[in-house]
């Protein structure tokens, strides 16, 4: 598992909040942001060794919706190891059921309060990092600039 996660979100405020929350709770993670379903699907289709281990997916987006992205990603067997977390403010139970049926690993409700927002995101990331699919985390330590001459 690597540190890369994909975040698919079209709302500026939510992009900013997710970025801030992850940088505080999981500073080692590298979130890559996509503003539409089409963008992320194109990126997922790119060949290359570095794949995200988790994708945070908004549902209501112009063009390809979150559920479309979810279905397309789950149809791709090379993405079997990708944890997909739907992160939505929708209260529609039918949408939740559709996401679960389409293979979402989590359906998480976006809170309004930032402290709660941060906590919800952090707990979700912690949960999926600790699951067997993710395995243990192993990382090379990169020292801060100028801190030492240690090899990394």
């Amino acid at each position: 598992m690597n540190d890369l996660i994909f975040v698919v979100e079209d709302t500026d405020e939510d992009v900013e909040a997710i970025e801030r929350a992850i940088s505080r709770s999981h500073p080692r993670l590298r979130p890559e942001f996509f503003r539409s379903g089409a963008e992320v699907l194109a990126r997922l289709a790119e060949p290359g060794p570095v794949r995200p281990w988790l994708m945070l997916l908004d549902l209501n987006m112009p063009g390809e919706s979150g559920i479309d992205v979810l279905r397309r990603a789950r149809a791709d067997r090379t993405l079997d190891d990708l944890t997909i977390v739907v992160f939505s403010s929708s209260e529609d139970q039918a949408e939740t059921d559709a996401c679960n049926a389409a293979g979402a690993d989590s359906y998480i409700f976006k809170p309004l309060n930032f402290s709660l927002f941060q906590s919800v995101l952090s707990q979700t990331l912690d949960y999926w990092r600790s699951r067997p699919r993710s395995g243990n985390v192993a990382r090379m330590v990169v020292p801060p600039p100028g801190e030492s001459s240690a090899q990394t």
């Binding site: 505080r24 709770s25 999981h26 500073p27 080692r28 209260e91 139970q93 679960n100 979402a104 690993d105 989590s106 359906y107 998480i108 409700f109 809170p111 309004l112 309060n113 402290s115 709660l116 941060q118 906590s119 919800v120 707990q123 979700t124 912690d126 949960y127 600790s130 699951r131 243990n136 985390v137 192993a138 990382r139 090379m140 330590v141 990169v142 020292p143 801060p144 801190e147 030492s148 001459s149 240690a150 090899q151 990394t152």
Partner: protein, 548 residues
């Protein structure tokens, strides 16, 4: 080593300054390992984070990468062993130190040195780093506890806000676990007592597949039932965490107004330190219970209102030759008192018919009593052959005699078949004007006029005449239909009535009234008042044949 001492002291100071600002333990390794790596003779520094059972959760390193089989060597070295493989990596010696803190994952730092290293000095430096690390993790834990408290405060505030915002029990039941997961627990199940027994009404887990697996296991559901039954009886039974495939579980009765209305079950995978205090879970359960109880009371009250309203209206309309009639009544979304709208259709012995509609102002028991009286007075007098004006005058006198401040708007459409269609004499006492939906043509509005009954000693009644051709439909209604307002304050009458009528032209008459009322209710949303709609369609003008 005087110069190196000064260098190390500066490095240690920088390390201390940096670690006191980190927000996550993930950041720690990059601050504490490199200064040790920089000491003369150090070949590698390895950091291990331990789980509660002492297995290793995370590996960090500088110098020689800690990957593959080297992890076995690292774990053995952390346990105090000296596996031969270490020498193969060029390690002359591996120095080991460890910290343990209550409620926090323990850590081990291994410093591998070559023959040139000043081992006692490096051991001292390692000890100092361990102390700095221990303090940094203690501070992190403290900040995490403060953040957890903020999160819990925010959750309670948001829970109160969200749960107070709805009176729909189903929605409340969905909201409760969705707010709790994963903010304070990995899973949450809500049981509600219905017909004396608990029923699982809502369940959420951060891992829905796992929850589905759990709830599909009869042994798990039997255990959950046992826990829930216990909680309902006030007996706190221990949860079998292994059976529930979770680290810990908590069961809270949902108590509102002295009555247990259900049970909440929380499932935790997180460390003990991250599990909220029981007092918090009790508080959250109390708020949830109150929201569920409010919703249930509201729904019971609403059911009573709808039932009572049905008793105030005719159960069926009479069949009248040459005419089709249908009515719809919608109780407003947030209405919890009986309203005053009424309607009826009366067939007279001479073959004529009258459709009546009215609206008693206000709501509640007194309005309901007046509604019943007004409808029956008008219907009985019309059936006996009284003219609409006479019937309204009698009702006016009765209302004034009763001394009620409430007034009544009313309209009566007297209908008789003629060669050209149906002649309608519309008599109004302050009631909204009717609409004629032409079979082939735009909708037309009739006249209103007159003054509400119960106000003046001598009633003011207005009259007008309309003619329905075969297939035309007379639509009479209460103001709930036309005056429902959208979010921008615009009324249904001004914005969407004609459009709805055009759309519904030619539909079967029962569908027409139902859809028209529904369109207005959808336009007004939760603010909609009660809506009564009564429609009469002219059939074939020859007596005895119904228009199809």
């Amino acid at each position: 080593m005087r110069e190196s001492d000064a260098g190390w002291a500066a490095a240690l100071h920088r390390m201390w300054s940096s670690v006191s600002h980190i927000t996550a333990r993930d950041d720690l390794a990059q601050l504490i390992l490199p200064p040790l790596q920089a000491l003369p003779g150090v070949v590698a520094v390895w950091g291990l984070r331990h789980a509660a059972d002492d297995s290793v959760l995370e590996y960090r390193w500088t110098g020689v990468p800690l990957e593959g089989e080297r992890r076995d060597l690292a774990r053995a070295a952390a346990a105090g062993l000296t596996p031969p493989g270490l020498a193969g990596l060029g390690f002359a010696q591996v120095l080991r130190d460890r910290f343990d803190l209550d409620g926090e994952a323990a850590g081990t730092i291994l410093v591998a040195v070559d023959e040139t290293a000043d081992v006692p000095v490096i051991r001292t430096c390692l000890g100092q780093v361990i102390e700095v690390t221990r303090e940094a993790i203690r501070q992190l834990g403290q900040r995490r506890a403060e953040h957890a408290q903020q999160t819990r405060d925010a959750l309670l505030a948001e829970a109160s806000l969200q749960m107070d915002a709805v009176l729909d029990t189903t929605q409340t039941l969905r909201r409760i676990p969705r707010m709790a997961v994963p903010a304070i627990a990995e899973g949450c199940l809500v049981y509600v007592v219905e017909d004396g027994r608990p029923h699982l009404r809502s369940s959420v887990h951060v891992d829905m597949r796992r929850l589905s697996g759990l709830l599909g296991d009869p042994a798990v559901t039997a255990h959950l039932t046992e826990l829930v039954d216990g909680a309902l009886k006030g007996v706190g039974l221990p949860a079998d965490a292994a059976l529930l495939a979770t680290r810990a579980a908590d069961v809270q009765p949902l108590r509102a107004r002295g009555e247990v209305v259900g049970v909440m079950v929380f499932l935790f995978d997180r460390d003990d330190a991250a599990i909220p205090p029981v007092a918090f879970l009790r508080d959250l359960a109390a708020r949830a219970a109150l929201a569920i109880d409010n919703g249930s009371r509201y729904e019971r009250r609403r059911r009573d209102v709808v039932t009572m309203q049905q008793h105030l209206l005719p159960t069926r309309l009479p069949e009248i030759d040459g005419l089709e009639a249908a009515a719809a009544y919608l109780v407003g979304d947030r209405i919890i008192e009986v309203g005053g709208d009424f309607y009826d259709v009366v067939a007279a012995a001479d073959g004529s018919a009258a459709a009546l509609i009215g609206d008693v102002c206000g709501r509640g028991v007194e309005a309901a009593a007046l509604t019943g009286m007004a409808r029956h007075t008008l219907a009985a007098l019309l059936q006996e052959g009284a003219t609409p004006a006479r019937a309204m005058t009698r009702l006016n006198a009765r209302l004034r005699l009763d001394g009620s401040w409430r007034f009544v708007t009313a309209g009566v459409a007297s209908m008789r078949l003629s060669a050209g269609g149906v002649v309608v004499d519309w008599v109004s006492a302050g009631h909204p004007a009717p609409v004629v939906l032409r079979h082939a043509g735009p909708p037309e509005r009739g006249d209103g006029g007159g003054a509400p009954l119960g106000v003046l000693a001598l009633p003011s009644i207005a009259g007008s005449r309309l003619v329905l051709a075969p297939g035309d439909t007379l639509i009479i209604f209460t103001d709930g239909l036309t005056e429902s307002r959208g979010p921008d304050g615009v009324m249904f009458e001004d914005h969407a009535l004609d459009e709805a009528l055009d759309r519904l032209r030619g539909r079967p008459i029962d569908e027409l009234v139902r859809e028209l009322a529904a369109a207005s209710a959808a336009f007004g949303g939760a603010r909609t008042d009660d809506i009564a709609v009564l429609a009469i369609r002219a059939g074939n003008c020859e007596r005895g044949e119904r228009h199809e």
